[in-house]
């Protein structure tokens, strides 16, 4: 069965402008560099990584908010990159987007009703009355009072605005939603509400999610499969259990180890891998494996010369490392003396 969304060799390069009178293209930022993955109908694929890894850019290429530089995107068999005019508009009914910032993603001069009915207006769905009814219905679905259709965003909190953003994305009954950090800007106690809402909606409407976030705990909770990204590439891809319980790529291991856990005893007992240095400049990424400059198990010359491909390391589990799981992370690289949690030598 072909996947609902098939992405192959996706590249997105941003030119870095130079020149005073006219902007000339100088160097490029390879924000997304040869990324491939598939999302099955009904599942949630997570894209996780730190800032600059290219996860948001990837998401925006999927619904053509940004135009990919090269590569292919197929949705339900259709070549997304070739779509124009009416077909592109039709595609936008099927693939929707939820934005990160609840304060900037709603037009402050439109009422909730106008914001939510805009997708319907654009696609010519329903009469005015029908649209209003659908808005009220949707407000209830996302847990808000239907009277609010006449109110303005600035009268509401971040969590409530995000609910409207979610409602808006559902108006056209899409098949897939790209969620770009939908809870990062919200308070902790509200995040859980929105996460639950997204999960309920997925069940109720049979949605497929591409879920982009930097919070490992949120990704693990909501995703079926996870792709870990670093500097424009996917370094690990697999089911959530595989990636979180037996991470094969040193970056994934470092990420999991760096993320603090709200449990003092566990936190004290953990051995932490603290990466040295900063994330390299994406204009000038390191040669070979992009992670080699900070990698605790990098071996030279292979890691600085050859870029590791994504290799199968388990059932449905891939990692892009020359030494995935063949080397345990040595004691000297750890900050406390205890054994390493997800010891790659163990099974």
């Amino acid at each position: 069965m072909t996947a609902l969304l098939q992405v192959e060799n996706l590249m997105k390069h941003f030119p870095v402008n130079q020149g005073v009178i006219l902007s000339r293209v100088g160097r490029t930022v390879k924000a997304v560099d040869n990324v491939s993955f598939a999302v099955e109908q009904g599942e949630t694929l997570g894209l996780v990584g730190e800032s600059g890894c290219g996860k948001s850019t990837t998401g925006r290429c999927i619904n053509r908010l940004l135009e990919p530089t090269s590569g292919s995107i197929h949705f339900a068999g259709t070549d997304v990159r070739k779509l124009r005019g009416k077909d592109l508009k039709a595609y936008r009914r099927d693939v929707q987007f939820i934005f990160q910032d609840p304060y900037a993603s709603l037009n402050p001069r439109m009422t909730f009703g106008e914001i939510m009915s805009e997708p319907l207006v654009i696609h010519g769905v329903g009469t005015r009355k029908e649209r209003q009814d659908r808005c009220k219905e949707m407000l209830e679905v996302v847990g808000l009072s239907p009277e609010h259709i006449h109110r303005y965003p600035h009268e509401f909190s971040g969590g409530q605005r995000q609910r409207v953003g979610i409602a808006r994305s559902l108006m056209l009954r899409p098949k897939m939603i790209v969620c770009d950090e939908p809870v990062s800007a919200l308070d902790v106690s509200i995040q859980a509400q929105i996460i639950n809402l997204l999960e309920e909606l997925q069940k109720e409407f049979g949605l497929t999610y591409l879920f982009i976030a930097h919070d490992l705990a949120v990704i693990r909770h909501i995703c079926d499969r996870v792709a870990v990204m670093y500097l424009g590439k996917i370094v690990e891809l697999g089911g959530w259990r595989e990636v979180y319980n037996s991470p094969h790529h040193p970056y994934t291991q470092s990420l999991l180890s760096a993320a603090p856990v709200p449990d003092p005893e566990k936190q004290r007992a953990r051995s932490r891998i603290i990466l040295r240095g900063d994330v390299p400049n994406p204009i000038d990424p390191p040669t070979g494996c992009r992670f080699h400059t900070r990698c605790p198990i990098a071996q030279f010359p292979i890691c600085s010369e050859q870029e590791p491909p994504l290799r199968l390391v388990g059932s449905g589990h891939q990692a892009a490392c020359h030494f995935a799981k063949t080397f345990p992370i040595p004691e000297s690289r750890m900050t406390s003396g205890e054994g390493y949690d997800g010891d790659p030598a163990e099974e």
Partner: protein, 298 residues
């Protein structure tokens, strides 16, 4: 700072409504607005009362001229009379017309050109942006008044050419303000949201960008009226603006410098008129900026 909303059962508060409320609370802005309204009313109704109460601003009664000239302010001539026996107060009143018309029309032209240029530069970016902005830079490089004088010399002196010149030369500022306003609105995610729904470019511009980008233009336009009035006064003072015998505040100032000590009323009253009117627009503009800016803060 307050956390969540107070979910009142109050009516919806639009951003414009909030801004209006804030403006009303700003005493200086309200004072400026009131003064402007007074000046407008005086100018509009001038024909009804000025000639009778104050005297004709233009006509010279040659028979009485000699006795009427340079009279100090009195109950009959509240602002005195000028060299040719005309009532200064009447001329100030009619001068208000000139100033207001020139100010408003000049800004209208500025906006017409500036909005289009700014929108083109901002929305299409790339080479259009470069061309338009460099063109604006060229305009900025020249001293405004000099440029205006040259243009009027080419077009010919007279009332119409004054506001045309001021307007045509003033578009770069509006274009710049509008361009940066559009660029900052464009960066908002609700524009991306509209695009990802399949909205057409036209819809995005009209529904999303324009309403949110207008606020700085409103402020700038208001302040520019004050600036245009000042420029007209300067041009008329230099003889390049309104021609005699039409009354213009700037022109009245130019008729009087040698008499500044012997007949100060000739300069003082037009001068005060210019000062207060321009100040009125500036205060109103300032108040508008404060009222409209805060809307973006949480």
């Amino acid at each position: 700072m307050p956390g969540g909303p107070a979910e009142q059962a109050a009516e919806a508060r639009t951003l414009w409504g909030d801004a209006l409320r804030r403006l009303r609370k700003n005493k200086l802005a309200v004072a400026g607005l009131i003064w402007i309204i007074i000046v407008i009313l005086v100018a509009i109704t001038a024909d009804l009362w000025a000639p009778r109460w104050l005297g004709d601003p233009v006509e010279i009664d040659s028979s009485t001229a000699a006795q009427q000239r340079l009279l100090t302010p009195s109950s009959e001539h509240p602002f005195g009379t000028d060299k040719l026996g005309r009532d200064v107060a009447s001329r100030v009143v009619y001068g208000a017309r000139v100033s207001l018309i020139v100010g408003v029309l000049a800004v209208a032209i500025m906006i017409a050109i500036g909005l289009v240029m700014g929108a083109l530069a901002a929305y299409y970016g790339g080479i259009w942006d470069a061309i338009i902005m460099r063109l604006a830079d060229v305009f900025f490089a020249f001293p405004y008044i000099l440029f205006a004088i040259v243009l009027i010399a080419l077009l010919g002196r007279g009332f119409h050419n004054v506001f045309i010149a001021i307007g045509v030369l003033g578009w770069p500022s509006i274009a710049r303000v509008f361009r940066s306003s559009i660029l900052s609105v464009k960066a908002n995610e609700y524009v991306d949201a509209a695009r990802s729904m399949g909205a057409s470019t036209r819809r995005i511009l009209v529904r999303h960008i324009m309403p949110n980008a207008m606020a700085p233009i409103i402020v700038y336009a208001t302040m520019s009226v004050g600036g245009a009035i000042l420029t007209e006064a300067a041009l008329s003072f230099l003889g390049m603006g309104v021609q005699p015998p039409e009354p213009s505040w700037g022109l009245m100032l130019s008729e009087a410098p040698t008499l500044i000590f012997s007949a100060p009323w000739l300069m003082v009253f037009p001068g005060i008129a210019i000062l207060t009117t321009v100040l009125g627009f500036v205060l109103l503009g300032d108040g508008l900026r404060d009222a409209l800016d805060v809307k973006l803060k949480e």
